[in-house]
Symmetry: C2
Subunit: 582 residues, 2 copies
């Protein structure tokens, strides 16, 4: 038996007890006549003591040979400490070591195993097993496990059945790129790894399972943007005999439960906002509503003068930055440079200082008088002391630019508090979105999303205006979940595929099984999927998902710890009936 | 809202209430003046009634147009039934329909959606979504979900952290064949899908997570035997600072919990048997100990006469089949044919009838007298009325043959009761096993298993005799879990790789990250993995795993419902830098 207690358990009630502990050497303080060793495990730290009055000199010598991250086992007696440490659960005691066994030695770690480490990102990833010993990473993994369990317990109590759907499925050219898996037993053929269990969960509803969930890995072979992983985890859910309202209520319940159980936070019923309203008010379909700076559209009050830039713009729109009137000319110039960066892409920025004394001063005083600027202040809900920032141009692009500025200012002004939670349903998403590359409409959500009742005829006349029974759950400016009510009759589904540019043959080859299933009594159904990596990060008060994943991949999709991907044997390729082109 | 109750909820307390129900038409009985419809959902069946006295003729006409598996919604009043059905939760009531909406029609299903169906295996797999509507399949999936939740809850309560390990890892030629995934971003390189998260869970232990578990899909590209799936699910576990005893206790606890929670069965502490003893007593490392028929070795009492077959055999061994003395000559001949089938492979079988009157009659009376046969009866613990079956030959093969006969007779005699549970730890597995093909020793468990303390020197002299700290959990003749204490120091691991025929370069290329990790304070650790598919099947009283998997693949690794694997576009292949050979 390696231990009878872990390193967070001992306290004054154990005084004089003999104990056996195991763990890692976190720290050694050698004062000559006395040596303290901090012994660490997952649960905490216990202070060990070797002292020349009570410890044999042989044992003291042994202790002197210890190094950081050595794995040791000790037997000893629990003593009350002279100087207690209230910040740790074992801070009242120490263990006077009577026997020391080195279970394994350690080379000097490539970075310090402390809460704040000197290890850079690459080094931490290469030695991820050492990084995981650090509290910040370890705690995030334990936190993730807790969130997963809370999700499972809640949904199970609501009669959801967790069903495992297959990982080796069929590739479909629709949507993002699939990872494929060559089949040896079926030469020349490939499986694909699922981008989501979408069709399988729909088939489970056709199969009458009624309420399904699964916490499941999904795969997308995309060029990785920062903080995207080729494999990611979804909480995937589907329900039968439901309307949108049923789904929103069920998963609002889940989210409230998580906020309460994990964060101890009670939240009110989630506000709802249409997609159109979100775009108009925040320039963004996943607005962070923890703070204001709502968009004020200025076309009516800014296109009546001789300022050509505004007059020619599809949209003139501004936000009021709280307290921004005090920014220096230099600070404002920097802000203008910021919105003109290629990542944001604005051509320029007009600003109005709404001074504390009520006076208004703008960068376009040549064109607009105080009455005009007052009207702008009203539209942007500016208060004295604010800085009104105005962008203009093509509507969609301008909204995106101003949204970027709004989020940036939210961050800079500390308005995006990690311990404040502002969930929001965004509903009534468009069914389709125009794709410039292919010059046709694509399904905004996926081809199984049902249009709103009665809107199918609009597909012929104004496809972009058709709204879907689709919804996103937004938390603190991040989409944490999204879903829709699905099409459940074969005719509408076939029409949809036709509309999205599938030939009959393609639709049949790729989704024939689903359309066939729809002819055998498919019930109305719908669902939602949450991005678990993101959800866990946000509940944990972070925006980066990487440390909530035990072994993440880097931006080239590599695991630098195990060095994967890697070449495989020619023999393996042959068995798969494959060869490399280059 | 599609329903306010499900189809198992309504009872006498709802009489006169107005309800809304949805579901599938299970059955229609049209008596002319009255029509009954059984409405089904996941939860149960509710009887609907349309009757000419109380229902409008238009509604009756509508009901007449319903067909099996139509999806309908009804509104109506709950009435007490005249003839009650005590076998169903809703058997006291029926719903007089006032409004009927057809939500979806259905073509005639290709097989009947009943507990006993007329659908063959292939048809059921092709239309798996219809098969899942049947209680036997649906209930197995719900059962699986319950088992998974019970596992998770138990392990979480024991402080295990569920950690998701990556699916896109590195291929290693050791062990079974990997499924590989070509990387587009790293042309010419491949990921592999994990055969198990073995190295990752060990790294989590090096990382100090202390107790890990995961319910996780694993992948093996093997030629499929019956009831094997290319993707399968493991309950994967690992613990730190443990000896074999700690692991056995922990997972005996889990298994007892499952038997109690899922099956309502209390079991005693699990017996333990060494591998050698299991092979000797049952000819099998996963013996079904629900029944006897233990092996009796007969070399000492059968090799002293002139019977050459026995005298030349390495092993003469028999079992006593209860009640077998009454078998006719024809029945016994059939049994002999059975052991001579190529799947079993015995050359012949000697038998002894131990008659009810105590007399003994054998097929080798020419060579052996009653005293000899008495001794055989003693060795095989035969009782009057039994049939002693004796096989002989090379020891390992003969044991396997007799084990096959024993299991067959256990089945025929109804001794393998599905509701009886006999768990057993088999311990002290050999570290290595001889592989005839490659003419060298392979790791019996995997190369990370630690030899028993002090047995390393034996590797040089008698490798086959080295025992490992490896153990299997056997339930009713099936291995449901297996694991080992791992090597945790770099030197032993390097020696092990060397011993298994890895060059230094190969070991470094494939497992360098693990051996590196071992130099930074790797703690003693060990673990176990359960096959969830098998475990669930056995807890469910079945031996076939297929119906406990929502969408299984067939023996060629195909999903015949979605028709996968399938060819992919030339374009996709090009992006992956691949081409087909043939």
């Amino acid at each position: 038996m390696y231990r009878d207690h872990n390193n967070s358990e001992l306290n004054l009630s154990f005084i004089t007890k003999k104990v056996t502990l195991s763990g890692w050497v976190q720290k050694i303080r050698d004062k000559g006549f006395i040596i303290w060793v901090d012994l660490r495990d997952r649960y905490g730290i216990t202070q060990l003591v070797f002292d020349s009055e009570r410890t044999s000199s042989a044992l003291i010598e042994q202790a002197r040979e210890l190094g950081r991250e050595f794995v040791i086992q000790v037997e000893g007696e629990v003593l009350e400490r002279e100087s207690k440490n209230e910040n740790m659960s074992t801070g009242d005691i120490e263990v006077l070591v009577e026997k020391l066994t080195v279970l394994n030695s350690s080379e000097t770690p490539p970075f310090t195993i402390e809460d704040k480490t000197d290890g850079g990102e690459d080094l931490r990833m290469k030695y991820r097993y050492l990084d995981i010993r650090r509290n910040p990473v370890k705690n995030k993994l334990i936190f993730r496990s807790k969130v997963s369990m809370a999700v499972r317990n809640y949904l199970s109590q609501q009669d959801f059945v967790e069903v495992e759907t297959p990982y080796l499925i069929k590739s479909t050219p629709e949507g993002a790129r699939d990872f494929v898996v060559p089949s040896r037993m079926n030469a020349g053929e490939f499986y694909a790894l699922p981008q989501s269990p979408q069709t399988f969960k729909q088939l489970l509803m056709v199969g009458g399972l009624d309420k399904y969930f699964q916490i499941v890995k999904c795969f997308r072979d995309e060029d990785l943007r920062a903080d995207r992983q080729p494999e990611f985890t979804q909480i995937d859910c589907e329900m039968t005999f439901v309307e949108q309202e049923d789904i929103l209520n069920t998963f609002e319940g889940l989210t409230k439960h998580l906020l309460k159980e994990i964060n101890g936070v009670d939240v009110q019923d989630f506000p709802r906002m249409t997609y159109d309203e979100a775009m108009k008010t925040y320039g963004n379909d996943k607005p962070d509503i923890r703070f204001g700076m709502k968009f004020g559209e200025l076309n009516d009050v800014a296109q009546h003068k001789d300022f050509k830039v505004f007059n020619e713009a599809e949209l003139v729109v501004g936000i009021a930055i709280p307290g921004g009137a005090s920014y220096s000319r230099k600070e404002i110039d920097k802000l203008i440079d910021w919105v003109k960066r290629p990542q944001v892409g604005a051509k320029g920025m007009v600003y109005v200082k709404f001074n504390a004394d009520g006076s208004l001063k703008s960068s376009v005083d040549k064109f607009y008088d105080e009455t005009d600027l007052k009207a702008w202040a009203e539209q942007t809900q500016a208060q004295p002391g604010d800085l009104i920032c105005v962008l203009s141009g093509e509507a969609t692009a301008t909204r995106a630019q101003l949204s970027a500025l709004r989020m940036e200012m939210g961050n800079r002004l500390g308005l995006r508090k990690p311990d404040e939670f502002a969930p929001l349903w965004v509903i009534d998403f468009p069914l389709l979105e125009w794709d410039e590359d292919t010059q046709r409409y694509h399904a905004m959500h996926h081809p199984f999303t049902s249009p709103k009742v009665g809107q199918i005829p609009l597909l012929a006349t104004d496809p972009g205006a058709v709204k879907a029974n689709a919804y996103d759950l937004v938390l603190n400016g991040n989409e944490i979940g999204g879903g829709s009510i699905r099409i459940h009759d074969q005719k509408t589904q076939a029409m949809m595929f036709d509309y999205l540019g599938f030939t009959k043959e393609e639709a049949e080859a790729q989704f024939g099984f689903l359309m066939k299933a729809f002819t055998y009594g498919a019930p109305p159904h719908g669902g939602i999927a949450f991005g678990l990596d993101r959800l866990v990060a946000i509940l944990g008060g972070q925006e980066s998902i990487r440390d909530f994943i035990a072994f993440p991949k880097n931006n080239s999709g590599r695991d630098i710890m195990i060095d994967a991907p890697a070449p495989i044997d020619e023999e393996q390729l042959k068995e798969l009936d494959l060869k490399l082109r280059s």
